[in-house]
Structures are given as structure tokens and as C-alpha cells.
């Protein structure tokens, strides 16, 4: 069973990754816009990608970790100095962004809405 983690904002993300000691399995990090009080994300592209990513996640190896990072409100994300954009470890350009942490596998924006690409990211063995 893939272990899921929910992170809110840059500080928590930064702290979590610092302490996160993963010895086995792949780590997937999914950056998306935080939820509005209504319970859905403010980011329309993230809403579109969500079911695709969740479905494809079933193909990931059971010892994988899936870390969902809500980057913050629209205002926080749109700030050019948003730490998710400036941190060399993330350097985000768009949300949603899905990364196999520490590996080259990465999908951005509309790519996260394409099941064949998301499935490849979770199953890729090269």
C-alpha cells in the first residue's frame, strides 16, 4: 500500500523533507494549489489532474511514498518569489507538478492530466 502524506505550505514541506528518511521505495511528490474553504483546490488545472493522478497512483509499487504538497493560496503561488519557485530543490514553474523525488521523472501542468504520461511516471523503470 502506497504511503500517503499531506503537506501544507513551504515551511512544512521543507521541514518534512529534511526529516524524511526513506530507505526503500520511490518517493513521489505532487505539488498542487491549496484547497478553498469549499474543499476543492483554487487551481483549475490541479482539479483536472487530481483524479488522473489518483487513479495512476494505484500502479505505483506498494512500498512507494506519495507526498501531496499544497503550495498555498493563489496569492502565495502567484508571488514570483514564492519559495517553491526559488528553492533549487523544487524550482516549480507550474502547478500541478508531479515529481519522482531525486530522479529525472517529472510532469508539469497539462501533462498531469494525461493518464498515459502519469502512468509512465509511476511505473517507469529506467
Amino acid at each position: 500500500m502506497v504511503k500517503q502524506h499531506q503537506i501544507e505550505g513551504y515551511d512544512q514541506f521543507s521541514e518534512f523533507m529534511k526529516n524524511f528518511a526513506n530507505t526503500d521505495g520511490e518517493v513521489y511528490v505532487y505539488f498542487s494549489g491549496s484547497k478553498l474553504p469549499s474543499g476543492i483546490s483554487w487551481c483549475p488545472d490541479c482539479i483536472k489532474a487530481k483524479p488522473i493522478v489518483e487513479e495512476a497512483l494505484k500502479l505505483a509499487k506498494p512500498n512507494s511514498h506519495f507526498i501531496v504538497v499544497d503550495v498555498g493560496s493563489r496569492e502565495i503561488w502567484k508571488d514570483r518569489n514564492c519559495p517553491f519557485r526559488t528553492d533549487p530543490k523544487t524550482r516549480l514553474l507550474v502547478i500541478p507538478t508531479l515529481i519522482r523525488w531525486g530522479h529525472p521523472q517529472k510532469l508539469e501542468g497539462e501533462q498531469c492530466e494525461k493518464p498515459e504520461l502519469v502512468e509512465m511516471l509511476f511505473t517507469d523503470e529506467e
Partner: protein, 527 residues
């Protein structure tokens, strides 16, 4: 029906009627008897199967798929003798242009840091050192991300990628073995784009202890004192960046340096490398490589007077040429013929002697072995096969650059080629040494900054070739390649206003002919 129409259309290119009469007849017979009916029966699994996922194959595959064709690409890398292997994307991305350019840039930065002190940066250039492991890791990380992006692109464009070595079973059938098992693919068209791999000298110890450009960019240890055997552009580039990164580098030259290039420019490049401390062993052939108990490599060689020499090195890199990977394809099962010693394929407009089998890239006989050439030929071919296009690949006036520490960019004819084709009486060669402004402050050597223009003597003096040695040669020569394709003349060039101060503007200032015998050295700093 749409496919059927397209099939007919693609046999109507005017180009197919121009060149080889025999081939044309074979082709037309096939249209009527073979392909036409087969397509209607829809008996093939794929419209196009591409052998080789390098620059040319991928470009053709993506273009074909975008035009509605069903396409599969097979790519497989046989590990090198020391076990180096890599991912999808071919030579350029994995073991060629890309890592080469990054390591070249790494080496240039070392020079820049030394220059920086002269420009007021407070640092100690004498203490700087390159960390090979960090550079290698950075380069490899970039390659891995390109491999991934390539796979994403194929998947997104509905091109099937098969990680297996494809071989011909018959003219329309490819067999391969993948991790998942054996597969047989049938295709209407097959594109051979398998490229080439470096050759090793036929001497004891070459394969056991030597490496090639396939290994250097991912080498798990510092290269150390390196002997590069071969003085083509790959050998010179490797020796150049290794020296720039701080390693002792020696180039062993069998006959001439940069054989394929203008020999005056090759001589200047050689001198420029010697000035930077790269050693050259001229007219020498290696005879053996042995491994000593301390792990170092003991190399023996002889010169053209049969004198024997030896020395020890940490690394011996063979850059004596490349072999097309055609032998592995069982081409006899398809009837595709090879030509010459390099196992190459001769084509007319990318078409082999078997009408439905095509080839692009480094497997082609007497065509430039350059990534953008393969990409362009692959794209145009796909458009002719699956689109409305009749556009043919133009293999002439392709610009290229040798990324030696002092870069050499050129387009068009060398001086030798021009003299041979037109005769000395009909050729005018303009030339100049120049001084890059930015070289003055750090007192960098300017003695090898040189350029020349080879033109016709009469009338407007049509430009036949441009040659430039200096910083950013690749960036400079690219635009002039477009100009040459627009029939650049000396009068246009001389009437083009330069950008000051740049090195590219030297092309617009050039006015001394070799024929005049005047000194091509600049008179003062700002003349």
C-alpha cells in the same frame, strides 16, 4: 481511405524521377504491384517502424505520428567493453554533442575564472580546481532528464517505444527481444537510423584497457593523464576539455589533424591547442596498451620512421573513427546493400536500394554525420511519406563547429575544395587575424584568432565558404550559414554593417585577399 490516398500521393514526388533511373523503375513497379495492394489489405501492424531512437529516428517518428501514421521506434544500446550504457535519445544526447558541450563549457569556465581576476574579481585563480565527480554527475543528471523528456514526448505523441535491438526478418518484418519477450513487427515503411559507435585500434589491449567517447562523459574516476588516439574533431574536443579541466592531455595523430576540414584552419587549431599545453604526437601509430601493476596504462607506439616510443597514462581514449551499426541489422534479410569500408548505406533522398526502406543519420554514405542533419532529413522524409510534402533534404552548406578550447566554425567549402572545384585562378580568399576586445584585459593570446572567406573571384564574388576560429564560433557561423544559403556575395558581406565590439563583425570588415600578399594582422587595437 485517407491512408490509401496518402499512399498514392507519396509516390508522386517529382524527386523520385530525377536521380537513379533503375531505382525509379523498381520503385514504380512496386507501387503498382506490391504496396498499393498490400496497403488496401491493411496487412501491416505499423505504417512506420524506426530502427534507432536517436536524433534522426525520433524526429522522423514524431513527425510521422503527428501526420497520422502508426509508428514504433526501437532503441537499444549495446554496452561498451567497460560496461557503459545509456538511455533513449542516441549518440548526441547521451555520449555526443550534449555532454561534450557541457564539458567544453566546464573547461571554458576555468579559463573565465582566471580572466575574472584581471577584471577585478577578488579570487585566487591559482587555487581553483575542477571536481570531476561533480561535473560528471551534473552532466549525467542533465542527460537523464533529457532521456525522460524524450520518453514523455514519444508517449504523448503516440509513438510506441520498444527497448530492444530490431533486426530484419524479411523486408517488411522486424524482430526484437525485449525484457517482456520476443516481438515481431510488420511495417509498410522501415527507417534505418541506428547511427554509429566508436572504433578501437586493432592493437593488443585496446578493447581491454581503452575507452572511447562512449565512456568518457560518465567515467567513474578522474581521467587523469590521458592519451587520445585520433585527431578528428572528437579526439581534439576530448583532449581540449580534458586539458581545460586540468588533466594532462596528449593527442596521437596518424596522418593529418581534422582531415575533413580546411587544413589551414586545422593547423591553427592544432597550434592553439599546443599553446594551451595539449601535447601532440604527429605521424604516430599505437602498437600496444598494457596494464601495469599500479593500474596505469603502458602504451607503446611508433612513428613513421619506425622509431619506438612508450609512456604511461591513466586513460587511453580511442577516437579513430566510427562504424555504422548496420551489420547487426541482418540487412541481407531485407536486401539492403552496404557500401564502402564503414558499413554505410547509400541512399537517394533517404531511400535505400529497397524502395520501402529508408535511412537517415550517421549510417548514410558520404553525408555529414551531424545531429541537425539527421533531424532535418528525418522530418522531411516523414512529411514526404505521410504528408503532402515534396521537400527534399539539402545536404550542402551545412554549418558545423569543432568545440576545441578555441572553437572553429565553418560552413561551405574549404579552401582546398574550392581550389579543386573552381581552380586557383577563379577563387579569391579573404582573410584576417583579429583581436577580440575582451581578450585585451586578461592579456589572452590572440595569435590564433583568425577567419577567412572563400569566394569566387569574378563579378559579385559569390561566397563559397566561411571559416572562423575564435570564441563562440558556433554562435557566429550559424547566421552566416543562412546568409550563404541566400547566395551571399563579398559585396553584400562588405556592405553589411557590423555590431561593435563583437568578434562576428570581423566578417564584415574582412578586406585583405591572400592574392594581395598583404599582412592579414590588424594594425592596431581599434583599426
Amino acid at each position: 481511405m485517407a491512408l490509401f490516398v496518402r499512399t498514392l500521393r507519396c509516390f508522386n514526388f517529382p524527386n523520385l524521377y530525377n536521380h537513379n533511373l533503375n531505382r525509379q523503375i523498381v520503385f514504380l513497379q512496386n507501387v503498382n504491384l506490391k504496396f498499393y495492394s498490400k496497403k488496401r489489405e491493411n496487412q501491416y501492424q505499423y505504417d512506420l517502424v524506426v530502427l534507432g531512437g536517436g536524433s534522426g529516428g525520433l524526429a522522423a517518428a514524431k513527425e510521422a505520428s503527428a501526420l497520422g501514421a502508426k509508428v514504433a521506434v526501437l532503441d537499444y544500446v549495446t554496452p561498451t567493453p567497460i560496461g557503459t550504457k545509456w538511455g533513449l535519445g542516441g549518440t548526441c544526447v547521451n555520449v555526443g554533442c550534449i555532454p561534450k558541450k557541457l564539458m567544453h563549457q566546464g573547461a571554458l569556465l576555468g579559463e573565465s575564472i582566471k580572466d575574472a581576476a584581471s577584471y577585478g574579481w577578488d579570487l585566487e585563480p591559482e587555487n581553483i580546481k575542477n571536481n570531476w565527480a561533480s561535473l560528471r554527475q551534473a552532466v549525467q543528471n542533465h542527460i537523464k532528464s533529457v532521456n525522460w523528456v524524450t520518453r514523455v514526448e514519444l508517449r504523448d505523441k503516440k509513438v510506441e517505444y520498444i527497448n530492444g535491438l530490431g533486426v530484419f526478418k524479411d523486408p517488411n518484418t522486424i524482430q526484437t527481444i525485449t525484457k517482456q519477450g520476443e516481438r515481431t513487427l510488420t511495417a509498410k515503411y522501415i527507417l534505418i537510423a541506428v547511427g554509429g559507435r566508436p572504433r578501437y585500434s586493432d592493437i593488443p589491449g585496446a578493447i581491454e584497457y581503452g575507452i572511447t567517447s562512449d565512456d568518457i562523459f560518465s567515467l567513474g574516476r578522474e581521467p587523469g593523464k590521458t592519451l587520445v588516439i585520433g585527431a578528428g574533431y572528437i579526439g581534439l574536443e576530448c583532449a581540449g576539455f580534458l586539458k581545460g579541466l586540468g588533466f594532462d592531455a596528449t593527442v596521437m595523430v596518424r596522418s593529418v589533424v581534422l582531415r575533413e576540414f580546411d587544413q589551414q584552419m586545422a593547423k591553427i587549431i592544432t597550434e592553439s591547442m599546443q599553446e594551451r599545453g595539449v601535447n601532440f604526437l604527429f605521424k604516430c601509430l599505437p602498437s600496444s596498451v598494457e596494464k601495469l601493476d599500479n593500474g596505469k596504462l603502458f602504451v607503446r607506439w611508433t612513428n613513421n620512421e619506425m622509431e619506438q616510443f612508450s609512456d604511461t597514462f591513466d586513460t587511453v581514449l580511442f577516437a579513430i573513427g566510427r562504424r555504422a551499426l548496420t551489420r547487426e541489422l541482418h540487412l541481407e534479410n531485407a536486401g539492403v546493400e552496404l557500401i564502402g569500408e564503414g558499413d554505410k548505406i547509400d541512399v537517394v533522398n533517404e531511400q535505400t536500394n529497397v524502395p520501402h526502406i529508408f535511412a537517415v543519420g550517421d549510417v548514410l554514405y558520404k553525408k555529414p554525420e551531424l545531429t541537425p542533419v539527421a533531424i532535418h532529413a528525418g522530418k522531411l522524409l516523414a512529411r514526404r511519406l505521410f504528408g503532402d510534402s515534396t521537400m527534399l533534404m539539402n545536404y550542402h552548406n551545412v554549418a558545423t563547429t569543432v568545440f576545441t578550447p578555441m572553437e572553429y566554425g565553418c560552413v561551405g567549402l574549404s579552401e582546398e575544395e574550392a581550389l579543386e572545384q573552381y581552380g586557383a585562378d577563379n577563387i579569391e580568399v579573404y582573410h584576417a587575424y583579429y583581436k577580440p576586445t575582451e581578450f585585451f584585459v586578461p592579456q589572452r593570446s590572440i595569435v590564433h584568432c583568425y577567419l577567412k572567406v572563400v569566394a569566387l573571384l569574378e563579378e559579385d564574388q559569390k561566397v563559397l565558404g566561411l571559416h572562423f576560429i575564435g570564441p563562440h564560433a558556433g554562435e557566429i557561423i550559424q547566421g552566416f550559414a543562412a546568409a550563404i544559403n541566400c547566395n551571399l556575395t563579398m559585396s553584400i558581406l562588405k556592405n553589411t554593417v557590423g555590431i561593435h565590439p563583437t568578434v562576428a563583425e570581423e566578417f564584415t570588415r574582412i578586406n585583405i585577399t591572400k592574392r594581395s600578399g598583404k599582412d592579414p594582422n590588424p594594425q592596431s587595437c581599434c583599426s
